[in-house]
Every structure is written in structure tokens, then in C-alpha cells.
Amino acid sequence: MQWEVVIGLEIHAQLATKSKIFSGASTAYGAAPNTQACAVDLGLPGVLPVLNKEAVRMAVKFGLANDCEITRRSVFARKNYFYPDLPKGYQISQFELPIVAKGHLEIELEDGSSKTVGITRAHLEEDAGKSLHEDFHGMTGIDLNRAGTPLLEIVSEPDMRSAKEAVAYMKKIHSLVQYLEICDGNMQEGSFRCDANVSVRLKGDEEFGTRTELKNINSFRFVERAINFEVERQIDVIEGGGAVVQETRLYDPDKGETRAMRSKEEAFDYRYFPDPDLLPVEIDDDYIESVRITLPELPNAKQQRFVTEYGIKPEDAATLTSSRVLADYYEATVKASEDAKLAANWVIGELLGALNKDGRELSDSPILPEMLGGIIIRIKDNTISGKIAKQVFTAMWEGEGDADSIIEAKGLKQVTDSGAIEKIIDEVLANNPKQIADYKAGKEKMLGFFVGQVMKASQGKANPGQVNQLLKQKLQE
């Protein structure tokens, strides 16, 4: 039997506002428990929410970047349920009238093709606090610092047909929210997380199969693993003669499996109703235009521009625009080096390689664009060869200074003095009479051997072009 996988994602992006969505408390991460929770966040008797306008602006920005409809009159609703880290006993969210309605987004697949994924809606809501189950000896600690942090919940259509597509979509949104500067995208701190709705059906079927919801998956790797595990599980259930049960399942990254959390029957009745403490959010054309003009260049447009403006390969442009910080880094390097192609090679090849090897983020790269540009300038003006430049890069990565000081300190300056190069060539030729004979007998590729020997003897510092030229002359003598 041929199965088709159907996936829809609900992504929670924490909006990068300074203060909370309904209070003036700070949203900064990592403070001591309950130090960033004011009376409103604690849900004290009598307190009232006041909407943070910045959160609205960010949601609209997201909507406009994805050709979504912006709801002119959206409404906050209360989602009622009891949990100790939910101070009011309800979460303020949006239900029937979300601020962002239908839109779509293009994702690129591994085979180079692209696909459109529908966005159903995106709504504003407040985050809950955290329950801390360790260190309290049979009790639970509550930290309400996160309570009231603004979230944008982005709901996709069930348009994805594999775990890889789901990951591509999630990565695209992840990049986009950072481009828009509405979310820091930090998955370790939970600023960007997702739930996946997964079902399977026989290829060709019109009806969707029964879905399960996989909760709180906080890395790209886990999304792929969780979905793949769940797909296999559902197929096994059906092929074993059973039926998939509609339920919420939790992914356990340690065991690599999903397990049932609560069934449809146990699902909460959230008793949504419009929050009487908040007025509907009214948005007019002028407001939408005022947000539209603040939209930055988006990834697809930037990729196009990199190809035409810098003459680099489309796949390199795609890599360089995969995040806004990387694209900015690249453009700063181009500016510093005045060589777009070399800059692309060095950013993609050396820099990303080194970051990846050390498991570092671009933001903590020890090499700044101006420094990388400094290396490229010295390649271009023949101060160093490309090979030596890699040594300079490594030294720079270790924090040994800028290109010129490293070249100076390590004596890596390329030798361009013909006399000095000739001297080395003479020594090499004198030590290899047999190879000269071979060359003269017609084995022209021996030239490479001689170049290598000369470069080695010069510790890589001889100018390779000059070495080539002088060697040819000498061998003809």
C-alpha cells in the first residue's frame, strides 16, 4: 500500500517586544524566577490587561510578509483552563477573529523545486509561566517570568507531505521572523517552537486520515524525527487492522518516540469567549501601509538581488540569504573586500565551516566581516596566496589579530622578488636532475612536481604565478 503523509504545523514565535503583551514587565530571558512578573502577570485580583501595540505591529508585519489578509477588527478571547502556571485560569488568545488570516509562503525543497504552503491564520496570545518540577521535594515551583510574553501562533494548512517538507517550512518561517525582526528565533530558550498535526492516508484518497497532534517540538531535528516516528506508528496501527485515535501526543527526544498525552474525549473544553477586558483591535488601511513601508527586503528578493548584483551562483545566494544575519554579514564582507565572488567563497566555505565545526552561532563569530574582508584584500593584492590565506584565517579564528598583523607576525608575506624565487628554483632543480630529464623527455606534467617543490621550499610564500613562469623559463634553458 502506498501511504501519503499529511502535515500541518502550528508554530509559536515569541515576539521580540521589550515588554509583555498585556503588562509593562520585561520579557528578557533568564532572570531569577518571578522577578519579571508584575501584578498583572501574577493575575492579582482587580488587575486588567492593556494591549502592547508593538505586538500588534509585529503580527501585522508577519501577515504582510506572507500576503495574508489582515483582519480589520480582530478580537481577543479567553481560553479557560486551570493550570498552576496559568495565573488567571485563562489564557488571553484570539479565537474566532485572529489578527492575521489566510496567506501563503514558498518553501524550497532539497531537490531544488519549490512549493507553496498555505497559512491558515496567525493570532496573538500570551504565553504561560513555567512549572518547575525539580528541586522542590514533591512540590512544584512556579516561575511566572514567562507569563504574558507575547506569542504569534502561526497555523499552516495541512499542505506538507513529508517530514522534510515540514522542516523546510519551519526553517523558512524561522528565517522569516528573524528577517522581520519580530522574533529572535532562539529555539533553546523556547522563543520558537512548534506543534505538528500528522495524519496518513492512502495515496489518491480525498479524505484526510485521523490526525494526532505532536506537542512542543523545539528543534528542526526533533520535528523531522517526531513526524517520521509518528507516521510509521500510524501506518503500523492501520496496517495492523487498527484505527488511529485522535489525540495529543508528546514527543520524547530521549527515546525518539511519541506517546499519548490526552485523547479527544479528555480534551479540554476551553469555553472560549471574547475577553470583556479588552477592546477589539481595529486596524485601518493607513495603519497597514505604515507597517508595510517598514518591511525589510525579504529572503526571496534578496536572493534574486545577490545573483544579479553580485554575480554569484543561485545556490550560493540561497545559502547566504538563509538568514538575515548571514546575508548582512556577507554584504559587509563584500563591502570590506570589494570582491563579491571571493567574499561568497570565503563566507560559505571557510566561515560557515568553522562555525559549524565549533558549533557556534554567527553572532559569536570571532571573525567580523571587516576582518574577513582584510584577508580577501591581501589575496587580491598578491600579498598572500589563497593557500596561505587559509592559515591566516585559522590564526584569525584563534584570535591572533587582523590579517595584516598575522601576516606580519608569522612572516607569511608572499615572496614576489624574482631573485629570491630564482634562488629557490635553482636549488630545487639542482636536487632533482632525474625529474628534469623526465620533463625534457616530454613529461610535461612534471612541471607541477617542480612547482610543488618550490612552494614547499618557500613554505608556501612564493607567488605561485611567478614560480610557474620562472620555472618554465629555467627548464627551457
Binding site: P45, G46, L48, P84, P87, F273, D277, L278
Partner: protein
């Protein structure tokens, strides 16, 4: 001293007849001696009151006194008061000392008013007789066998018994006007959004509104000058200029168009109350007002609609009382469910539980459309009734309540009859309109209240209409025998 109004006290203080400290002490003494009979205070803040009074006296000496400087007031225990127990009439909050002041409280502090204490009330403002309070029923100063009305029963009793010159109340379905009527005092529920709800413990957020309860319309105007206004901490408060409510009090009401809704004078209205209201209407005619009969055809739907909307909102508003962060927590909870069940089961009284259950049911999947949505539609209809009426008339007048105060215990076993005692006041809350109750006579020992309903933000006119009546009648000036 205790029979003076705020306006008179303000003058006496200014003329140095007595200091605020002396005045405050006199009230504290009265409370000490007399409150046991009515049970109108939950907390008396004697030390804080005397300190505030002394500060007010200094302010006056410095020549910085305003109309409310040094005036003692009682605050309904629904308003959060920093460092002072704020119980909302519930065991749930018996241990709750608020860490902050409600906006209304800080405004009175800024105006130099002195808080005598926190008044008794129906638990979480749910009740029409003040019998649901965890702190025991309040008694009507006019007749100690009668209820004072609710939920602001303590505030009404305090004013009637001369245990404070005036008090604050809140009104979700009549909770200022009904007790004001039953205790023979003057109370105003302002337009929804006129007074900040920040720090006022929510019962039904779309209906709750704070207002003054005093002996005269003039005193209500003085208090409104402090209470009213936009508050950035309350998104539902309205950013509209606040007039000086005292300046129009003496305007003539000749030519005023008064509407009498026939639905407020039909079945269910006590004959003696009807007679008193007719006498009051005759008084208005003498003052030059024109009286026309009008119809508010959806009046009969207001109680049922209210008892869906208010419980629905309260079921959600009261979820925060879960024993986790503040308030009552049960002993030795076994687990989380046990903590919730016992903390809430022990902390809330029967009426609160009843309304949480009604509201939870009304909002449940499958019932939402039939109850909550339908009730919202009824609200629209009721608002339209009033809108049409105010195209015809300036104010609407009728009885505030169908009967005078009933006996303690009389309706406690019959919630629906109890709910109907708010039949004339609830519609204005559903529409968000301002309404007043003004003393208009007695049936036996028990006072009758005349209700005046105005258009949105027309509080100044209501106060004017009430004040003019109080210039030619003296019902508002009478005091119960035991508290003279």
C-alpha cells in the same frame, strides 16, 4: 456632625469648626459604638484614617485643601487597598492584603480623602441582599429586620447609619442603586467606562462599574469629580473629558422631558412603592418637567440575559482564585486537583458557586450559541430600546426596585425571586447607561428609591435632575431613629 453632607463638612473644615482628625475620630467612635447593630464594616482602618486625617489637616493649613481634603469615606471591600485586607466579602480572600491600590482608591488618596475602612458586601458582589457575605449579613439601619440590599449593602448601610458621610459602591446589575434605594440614600452608577475598573475585583467585567453612594446628589457630584476619568490601566475606560459635575447642579429642569417606561410600572411593582413614585413624578411636574409614557419593550428579557452574561464572565474571572498564589488554600493538598477542589470548595460560598456553575455551563461547547451568544443579542435589543427612548426624552424615571427592603432570610432559599429584585436596574448595566437612585419616601419604616436613567455620559444631567428634586423634598435628609 454626623448629619452633615460632604459639602457641609468641607465648609466646616475650611472654616475651622473642627479638624479632619476630630471629624475622623468622631466617625471612628460612632463605628465603634454602633456598627455592631448593622455589621456594615469588614475592616476599620482607624490608624490609617487618623494618620490620613492629620495629613489632610496639614494640607489644609498649607492652603492646599480641595473639596474632599480631610473628608472621611468608606470604601467597598471590592477595591484593592494597599496594605489593607481586601476580602471582597469572601473567605477566599480573608487573608488577602492587597499590594496595590485600585485607581479609584489612589484618586481619593490624592484628593486628600480619609479612608475609614472597608465595607461589607455580598461575596464577590454576587447578591441583592448582602446575605452572601462571608462576614455575615448587613442589616438595614431603617429596620434591623430588613436587608440593606446588595451587593453594596455595607456601603449603603454605612451612609444611612451615619457611619461615614459617603462611600463607594460598585454596580453590576443594580448593586449601587438597589441598596441605595433600600437604605434611603443617593447612589449613582456611571456610564460603563466612566470610572476605572483597575483594582476593582471583577465580577462581570462588561457590566461592572464603580460609583458614589452618599446622602445627596451634590455629594455624589463631588465624589464623581474625583472618581471619573480615563485610566490607561483600564482599556475599557473611555478617554472623554470629565466635566465639573457640581456646576450644573442648580440648572433649572423646566422643560426637561421625562420618560416613564410602562414596563417599570406593571405587574410586580408594589402598590405602595408605585404611589411613592407617582408622588415624586408629580414633584417633577411642579418643577416644570414634561412627563411622557415610553416603552422599553425588551425589559422582561433583561434578567434572563443578565443571568447568562454575568455568570459567564464571573466563571472565568474567578478562575484566578485557585489557592496557588494568594487567597485561601486548603490544608495539606494531596495533589493538584485536590488543591483546586478543596481550596475553591472551601473558599467560595454557595451563591458564588451557583453562578460559577451557571456560567461554566453557558460557555460550554454546544451551549455557547444558545446561551451566551443569544444573551449578547438580547443586550443589543435592550440597548436599542434605550436608544429609541432617548430620541424622545432626556431622562427616564421609574422605581429603583419593585418593593422596599425585604426581611432578612426571606428570599435566601429562592434565588430567582431574589434575582427579580434587580428587575429595574439590570437593563441599564446591559446597555452600559448611567443610572441613579434617589430617596423618594417610605413604605412603613422602609425607604423607597426613585430611579433616574440617563443617556451615555449624561451623569451631569442625572445629578442635576436628582439635585433639583432634593431641593424641594427632604427624604434624603432623614435619618433612621437609632442612628440620628
Amino acid at each position: 456632625m454626623q448629619n452633615k453632607t460632604i459639602a457641609e463638612l468641607s465648609q466646616s473644615l475650611q472654616q475651622g469648626e473642627f479638624s479632619s482628625e476630630e471629624l475622623t475620630r468622631a466617625y471612628l467612635d460612632r463605628i465603634d459604638k454602633l456598627d455592631a447593630q448593622v455589621n456594615s464594616y469588614i475592616t476599620v482602618t482607624a490608624d490609617g484614617a487618623l494618620a490620613a486625617a492629620r495629613a489632610a489637616d496639614e494640607q489644609r493649613q498649607a492652603g492646599q485643601a480641595g473639596p474632599l481634603t480631610g473628608i472621611p469615606l468608606a470604601q467597598k471591600d471590592i477595591f484593592c487597598t494597599e496594605g489593607v485586607k481586601t476580602s471582597c466579602g469572601s473567605k477566599m480572600l480573608d487573608n488577602f492584603i492587597s499590594p496595590y491600590d485600585a485607581t479609584v482608591i489612589s484618586k481619593f488618596k490624592q484628593a486628600g480623602a480619609v479612608m475609614l475602612g472597608k465595607t461589607n458586601m455580598d461575596e464577590f458582589a454576587m447578591g441583592s441582599s448582602n446575605e452572601t457575605s462571608f462576614y455575615g449579613a448587613v442589616k438595614n439601619p431603617w429596620d434591623l429586620d430588613a436587608v440593606p440590599g446588595g451587593s453594596s449593602g455595607g456601603s449603603a448601610a454605612v451612609v444611612a447609619a451615619r457611619l461615614a458621610p459617603a462611600a463607594t459602591g460598585t454596580d453590576t446589575g443594580g448593586s449601587i442603586r438597589q441598596p441605595a434605594a433600600l437604605c434611603g440614600i443617593t447612589g449613582l452608577k456611571p456610564t460603563y467606562g466612566r470610572v476605572s475598573r483597575y483594582g476593582m475585583i471583577a465580577f462581570a467585567s462588561s457590566l461592572d462599574q464603580a460609583g458614589p453612594m452618599a446622602r445627596t446628589a451634590e455629594d455624589c457630584a463631588l465624589m464623581m469629580n474625583v472618581m471619573a476619568g480615563f485610566d490607561e490601566k483600564d482599556s475599557t475606560s473611555v478617554d472623554q473629558a470629565v466635566p465639573d459635575y457640581t456646576t450644573s447642579l442648580n440648572d433649572s429642569i423646566a422643560g426637561l422631558k421625562i420618560g416613564l417606561p410602562k414596563e417599570y410600572f406593571s405587574e410586580g411593582l408594589d402598590n405602595d412603592v408605585a404611589t411613592a413614585i407617582e408622588v415624586a413624578i408629580a414633584e417633577y411636574k411642579k418643577l416644570g418637567a414634561e412627563v411622557v409614557e415610553i416603552s422599553l419593550p425588551n425589559t422582561g428579557l433583561s434578567v434572563p440575559a443578565y443571568y447568562v452574561v454575568a455568570p459567564a464572565e464571573c466563571s472565568s474571572n474567578l478562575s484566578r482564585f485557585d489557592g496557588v498564589r494568594f487567597g485561601h488554600r486548603c490544608e495539606n493538598p494531596k495533589d493538584l486537583t485536590d488543591l483546586y477542589k478543596r481550596s475553591r470548595g472551601e473558599g467560595f460560598g454557595a451563591e458564588v458557586k451557583r453562578r460559577i456553575m451557571i456560567g461554566t455551563y453557558a460557555l460550554s461547547a454546544g451551549y455557547y450559541d444558545a446561551y451566551y451568544l443569544k444573551a449578547q443579542k438580547v443586550r443589543q435589543l435592550i440597548s436599542q430600546d434605550f436608544k429609541r427612548a432617548f430620541e424622545q426624552v432626556d431622562v427616564i424615571i421609574g422605581p429603583a426596585t419593585p418593593t422596599v427592603a425585604f426581611n432578612l432570610g426571606e428570599k435566601t432559599d429562592d434565588p430567582v425571586t431574589m434575582y427579580l429584585s434587580d428587575a429595574y436596574t439590570i437593563a441599564t448595566n446591559l446597555a452600559g447607561l448611567p443610572g441613579m437612585s434617589v430617596p423618594a419616601g417610605f413604605v412603613g419604616k422602609r425607604p423607597v428609591g426613585l430611579q433616574i436613567i440617563g443617556n451615555y455620559f449624561d451623569e451631569a444631567r442625572l445629578l442635576n435632575v436628582a439635585h433639583q428634586y432634593q431641593q424641594t423634598t427632604d427624604w434624603h435628609a432623614q435619618a433612621p431613629e437609632a442612628f440620628k
